[in-house]
Amino acid sequence: MSDALLEVRDLTRTFGGIRAVDGLSFDAARDGITGLIGPNGAGKTTVFNLITAVYKPTSGSIRLGGHDLAGKRPDEVVRSGVSRTFQNIRLFNRMTCLQNVMTPILARASCGPVSSLFGTPSARREESEARERAFAIMKNIGIEDSAHRIASTLPYGIQRKLEIARAIACSPSLLLLDEPAAGMNDAETRELGETIVRVRNDFDVTILLIEHHISLIMDICAHIVVMERGALLASGSPDEIREDPLVVEAYLGRRRSGGSAR
């Protein structure tokens, strides 16, 4: 067995004439945090959508723990161990924080409609186990105080964390985070970084992280993949990436010179 949990090979996806992802290959090391960066429109979110089967690849393959994910439905991909957050937060808005986190756990539970109709003891046991596990996850992320609040009424920072909590509740081996620190200031970003590292340690997950906060990426990622216009521009350790002339030119440089990319 290789030490790469996720292996992406020659992945291509076109939308009409646009090659959103163009022959991309990279690995995400087991139990590591891999950064996925690149300018706006580079195709990062599309990579997440391909891994989670929201889109079908035009060509190429995606393997998780040695198994090809081709042909699976999104919910099957989730069950085989991938979960994600969304660039634009997608919570179950009119449900409580607790219900949001319980949903993936209940989705995996086994009792059928008939025992639910009659509220059998086994159905109730599953329910209370799900509640306990959801509370444990919320406590770890630090949002248990908001457990009974309606998701849409929560402050932005808590909503971001709630999305991470809900993704962990899927019991993933691979967790995909799409710009979790978007819209956060430096202090909040640093705190989120600590949360992500703790999540990796406490829940034994491999993390693939898209972020525009380069400092966060440099701080917590062991390995960084840089994309530009759908293709791989560079990959390596934070130090290698920082020194890479192509990356400095195409991405870091442009940001430094006033962030005209956005």
């Binding site: 989670t52 949903t103 209940l106 639910s116």
Partner: protein
Amino acid sequence: MDYYLNIVLLAFINMIAVLGVAVFTGFTGLFSLGHAAFIGIGAYTSGALTYHWNVPFILAILAGMAAAGLSSLVIGVPTLRAKLRSDYFAIAILGFGEALRVCFENLSITNGARGLSLDELSGPVWVSGALVICVFLTRNLLKSRFGTMFMSIREDPVAAEMAGINLFRTRLLSLVVSAMLCGVSGALLAHRLAFIQPVMFTLTQSTQLLASVIAGGMGSVSGPIIISFVFTSLPEALRWLDMWRLPAYGLLLVVIMIYRPQGLMGYREITDLFRRKAQ
């Protein structure tokens, strides 16, 4: 007295159907302008059984329920596969309802457009008993993992799928449950009115069911039930208004939508209100 009792029983029967639409539309977030078809199937299945073969009433009700559930699979299986396009279902069920009415009108077993005259079997015990059982079981289901899954699909199907939920199967379950409730309602209705005709199960009735759920509050069981009682009894209570009855009814709907756009109960239950006061 009999007059009022009859109104109350018809309101109870209507509540069971509204409960079905509450599961499908209020909790799962899918719209239907065709659930009257399932009421019709429940009514005709049970009616044909008691009329032609003297089948015991309880078996006729269960058969009506099962027939409605099975027929919902016929429309649900092909249309609910479309992941993010619930409009396929909405259109298909409209056509299904119309096709069904034509069938009822032309079959000999339904006695065609002339209708079936039945025995008045749905007495107070049957109707209130059925209502209590239906409310109890539906509430259990909605409080279970399936209720949570239904709501998560209503809130965001993409995120629900990313929570590991099979959208197709879960939506189909919601449809079958709601159709079965409508089937029970139809069986009771047929044997309350003691007469059924194909024209009784039309778009107007489907619209009323949907209006009850929206005005009562999507995501609430008690809200739609209360509203459906008001809606069924109001036309009778407002008889003195004569021809202004229907406009008054429409006005009430408009007033509710202006002052409580989330519906009477919104996403809560009436029991929550008492609980809050007690704290």
